[in-house]
C-alpha cells in the first residue's frame, strides 16, 4: 500500500524533476563550463583540443575571462548601476503597489475581480509591443511631451526630452514589474482576518497604528516575495534599457546579451552571468538573514 503510493508519487513528480534537471541544472553547468574556455576566433568557443595540424590556436581551459572581468572597473560600475536601478525599481513598485493591493484585497468580490483582471490584462499583449508603446508615448513629438513641455515653458523651464533617458528606463522598468509586486502583496493581504483590525482599534490603536502594528508585519512574507520577484527580474532586464534607454543606459542584462549576440565572446558572457547569479544569491541570502533576525527581535519583548 505505502509502496504503491510511493511509486505513484515518484511517477508524478518524476517528469517535472527530470525536466528541471535537464533544462535548468544542465544549462547552468554548461555556462559554468563555458566561463573557463577560450572564445573562438570568429565568436562562440575555441576548441577544447587543438585541431590536427594547427599550432597556434588557443584551446583547453583558462581563467582568462575572469581576469578580464576584474581587470576593468567598467564592469563593476555597470553592476553597481544595475543594482541601483533594480533597487529603485523595486522600491517604487513596492510603494505604488501596496496601497493598490490593499484596496483590491479590501474591496467587494465583484470589484476585486475586475481590478485583478485589470492588473493582469497587460500580459494579454506582447511584452515588447508594450515597451514600444512607451516609445510612442514618450516621443518628443507625442501629445504627452507636447503638453508637459508647454507647461514647463510657461514656468520658464527649457523643453525636456523623455525618450532614451534614465528616466524612461526607470519608467519602463516600473511599468513592466508592477504586476509582479501587486499580485503577491494582494495574495497575502487578502488572507488577513479583518477582525484583527477591529481588535486593534478596539484596544486603542488609530488607523495608522493598526497598519503599522498589524497589517504591515503580517504582510512581510508577501512583501518579500514581491521584492524577490521584481528585484531579480529587474537586475537581469535588457529589453527595457535596449528600447527606452540611451547609449549610456546600459545595464548588466544588456552587457550579457551583447556578449552572446553581438560581440560573441561567450566565455566572458558566461562569467558575467555567473557574477549576476552570485550577486542575486548573495543579496537574497543577506535579505533573508536580516529578515529572520528582525522577526526574532520583534517577537521577544
Amino acid at each position: 500500500m505505502i509502496k504503491e503510493k510511493n511509486i505513484v508519487r515518484w511517477l508524478l513528480s518524476g517528469v517535472p524533476l527530470l525536466f528541471l534537471l535537464l533544462f535548468f541544472i544542465a544549462p547552468s553547468l554548461i555556462i559554468v563550463f563555458t566561463s573557463f574556455r577560450f572564445p573562438g576566433e570568429f565568436g562562440g568557443l575555441a576548441p577544447l583540443i587543438a585541431p590536427m595540424g594547427t599550432v597556434d590556436v588557443e584551446h583547453g581551459l583558462t581563467l582568462e575571462a575572469y581576469q578580464f572581468f576584474f581587470s576593468d572597473t567598467l564592469y563593476v560600475r555597470v553592476f553597481i548601476k544595475s543594482l541601483q536601478v533594480a533597487v529603485v525599481t523595486t522600491l517604487i513598485c513596492l510603494i505604488m503597489s501596496y496601497p493598490l493591493a490593499l484596496l483590491i484585497a479590501r474591496s467587494k468580490e465583484r470589484l476585486r475581480n475586475i481590478m485583478l483582471l485589470l492588473v493582469v490584462l497587460p500580459f494579454a499583449s506582447n511584452f515588447l509591443i508594450r515597451i514600444y508603446a512607451w516609445v510612442i508615448i514618450l516621443d518628443p513629438e507625442s501629445a504627452l511631451s507636447y503638453f508637459i513641455n508647454l507647461i514647463l515653458n510657461l514656468v520658464g523651464i527649457s523643453p525636456v526630452i523623455f525618450l532614451f533617458s534614465p528616466f524612461a528606463v526607470l519608467l519602463g522598468m516600473v511599468y513592466v514589474h508592477l504586476p509582479f509586486m501587486i499580485l503577491p502583496l494582494y495574495i497575502n493581504l487578502e488572507k488577513h482576518d479583518p477582525i484583527l483590525l477591529d481588535a486593534a482599534q478596539d484596544l486603542g490603536a488609530s488607523h495608522w497604528k493598526c497598519f503599522w502594528y498589524i497589517t504591515w508585519p503580517l504582510s512581510i512574507s508577501g512583501v518579500s516575495s514581491g521584492i524577490v520577484l521584481v528585484f531579480i527580474s529587474a537586475l537581469g532586464m535588457f529589453a527595457v534599457p535596449d528600447i527606452l534607454g540611451g547609449t549610456g543606459d546600459i545595464l548588466i542584462g544588456n552587457l550579457i546579451k551583447d556578449q552572446f549576440i553581438s560581440t560573441r565572446d561567450w566565455p566572458f558572457g558566461a562569467v558575467l552571468s555567473i557574477m549576476l547569479a552570485l550577486t542575486i544569491l548573495l543579496i537574497i541570502g543577506l535579505g533573508a538573514y536580516f529578515l529572520r533576525r528582525l522577526r526574532k527581535r520583534n517577537y521577544a519583548t
Binding site: D198, A199, L203, G204, A205, Y213, Y299, A300
Partner: protein, 361 residues
C-alpha cells in the same frame, strides 16, 4: 449615575430593525448579560457600545457623556471577541502588552503589568508562546488579559465561551466570575446560552427581535418571567392556556380549558376574566400514584408517555386527559422517598398553590 446608559437606541439595516428603541443602564462593577436567540440584536447592540457601529437614533452615554462621534479607539471600552482575534504574529506577552504599547506607556511599566495580568489569568509561563501554540482555553485567557490590562471602564464579551468544550466552559465561567470580582470592571456579556447567563450575571436583559423583554436578576428572571417568551427561553417550563376565574389574595384561581381549576400565587394587575397562560417549571410538580389520596388543591390525572433518564434527574412526560403534555423533573437521589414510574402508568400530577405563574402574554 449609571456607568453606561443606553437611551432609546435604534439601529436598522434596510427594512430590518436590528435594535428597536432599547434603553438599558449598567452600573459600575456589574456583570451584565445580554441574552437572546441569534438575530435578537444583542451583537448589534454590543457593536454600538464598542463603537464599531452607530445608532440610527438614541444615545449611548458613558459616565453621563454621549459617546456618539467618539471612535472605537478613543472609548475606554474593550472587547473580547468570540474568535479571540489574537494577533498571530505577536507572542502572548506582546498581545497582552498591545493596549499599553499603543497608549505609549513606559517599557518597565508595561513589563511589570504584563507579568501581573498574565498571573491574574493563570498564564504564568506562557508569555513567549505564540497564539497558535496555545489551547482554546489558554487563548481565551490571553484575550481576557489583553482586554483587561489597561483597566477599561467596561469589558464587552461577545459569546467568548462559545468555542470551548463543556468542561472547559464551566471552568472558565468560574474564572470569569472571579476575574470580574477581583478587577471590579463592569462586564457586558453576550450569550445565547441561558445557563451561562444565569450562572454568571448580576443582571440579565432578555432580548427578542430587537427589543427588551425583561431586565432583572437571574433568580427574578427565572422565577418570575414577565411574559411567555422569557419563561420559555430560560429553562424548561410547562405552559397551558388559562383564564382568571377569581382573585382570592394571596392566590388566584384559574380555569384551564377542558381540564379544571387551579390555584396559584396572585399577581399584581391581574383582573377577573383575563386570558393568558399558566406556567410552571418541571421541578415544581410532583407525580403520585393514581390511587394515592391527594390533599393538594392542584391535581390532574394523566398517563406517563415517556421518560428521559439523565443520571441525577429523570424527566417524565405526562399527558393529561385533554391531551396537554407536561414535563416533570424528579431527582433520582433519596431513593426511598421517590418512587420510579414506567411508561403507561396512570398517575396524578400535583403541585402546591405557592408555585406556578400567570402570564398575560
Amino acid at each position: 449615575m449609571a456607568l453606561l446608559e443606553i437611551r432609546g437606541v435604534t439601529r436598522c439595516f434596510g427594512n430590518f430593525i436590528a435594535v428597536n428603541n432599547i434603553s438599558i443602564s449598567i452600573e459600575t462593577g456589574e456583570f451584565f448579560t445580554l441574552l437572546g436567540p441569534s438575530g435578537c440584536g444583542k451583537t448589534t447592540l454590543l457593536r454600538m457600545i464598542a463603537g464599531f457601529d452607530l445608532p440610527d437614533s438614541g444615545q449611548i452615554l458613558l459616565d453621563g457623556k454621549d459617546m456618539v462621534g467618539m471612535p472605537s479607539e478613543k472609548r475606554p471600552i474593550h472587547t473580547v471577541f468570540q474568535t479571540y482575534a489574537l494577533f498571530p504574529h505577536m507572542t502572548v506577552s506582546d498581545n497582552v502588552a498591545f493596549p499599553l504599547k499603543i497608549a505609549g506607556e513606559k517599557l518597565d511599566e508595561i513589563r511589570s503589568r504584563v507579568i501581573k495580568t498574565l498571573d491574574d489569568v493563570r498564564l504564568f509561563n506562557l508569555g513567549n508562546r505564540f497564539p497558535h501554540e496555545l489551547s482554546g482555553g489558554q487563548r481565551q485567557r490571553v484575550a481576557l488579559a489583553r482586554g483587561l490590562i489597561s483597566r477599561p471602564r467596561l469589558l464587552l464579551l461577545d459569546e467568548p465561551l462559545g468555542a470551548l468544550d463543556l468542561k472547559l466552559r464551566e471552568e472558565m465561567q468560574i474564572e470569569l466570575i472571579n476575574l470580574q470580582k477581583e478587577t471590579g470592571i463592569a462586564f457586558v456579556f453576550v450569550t445565547h446560552s441561558q445557563n451561562e447567563a444565569l450562572t454568571l450575571s448580576h443582571r440579565i436583559v432578555v432580548m427578542n427581535q430587537g427589543g427588551v423583554e425583561q431586565i432583572d436578576t437571574p433568580s427574578k428572571i427565572y422565577n418570575f418571567p414577565r411574559n411567555r417568551f422569557v419563561a420559555d427561553f430560560l429553562g424548561k417550563i410547562n405552559i397551558m392556556d388559562a383564564q382568571v376565574l377569581e382573585i382570592i389574595p394571596p392566590y388566584l384561581r384559574l380555569i384551564i380549558p377542558e381540564l379544571g381549576q387551579v390555584v396559584i400565587p396572585n399577581k399584581e394587575g391581574v383582573k377577573i376574566g383575563d386570558k393568558g397562560f399558566m406556567a410552571i417549571r418541571p421541578e415544581q410538580m410532583r407525580i403520585m400514584i393514581y390511587s394515592e389520596e391527594v390533599n393538594s388543591k392542584n391535581h390532574f390525572s394523566g398517563q406517563i408517555k415517556s421518560l428521559l433518564y439523565a443520571g441525577d434527574v429523570t424527566t417524565y412526560v405526562v399527558e393529561f386527559s385533554n391531551g396537554t403534555r407536561v414535563e416533570i423533573l424528579l431527582p433520582n437521589s433519596a431513593p426511598r422517598e421517590i418512587k420510579r414510574f414506567e411508561i403507561g402508568d396512570l398517575v396524578v400530577i400535583v403541585w402546591e398553590s405557592d408555585v406556578g405563574l400567570f402570564l398575560n402574554d
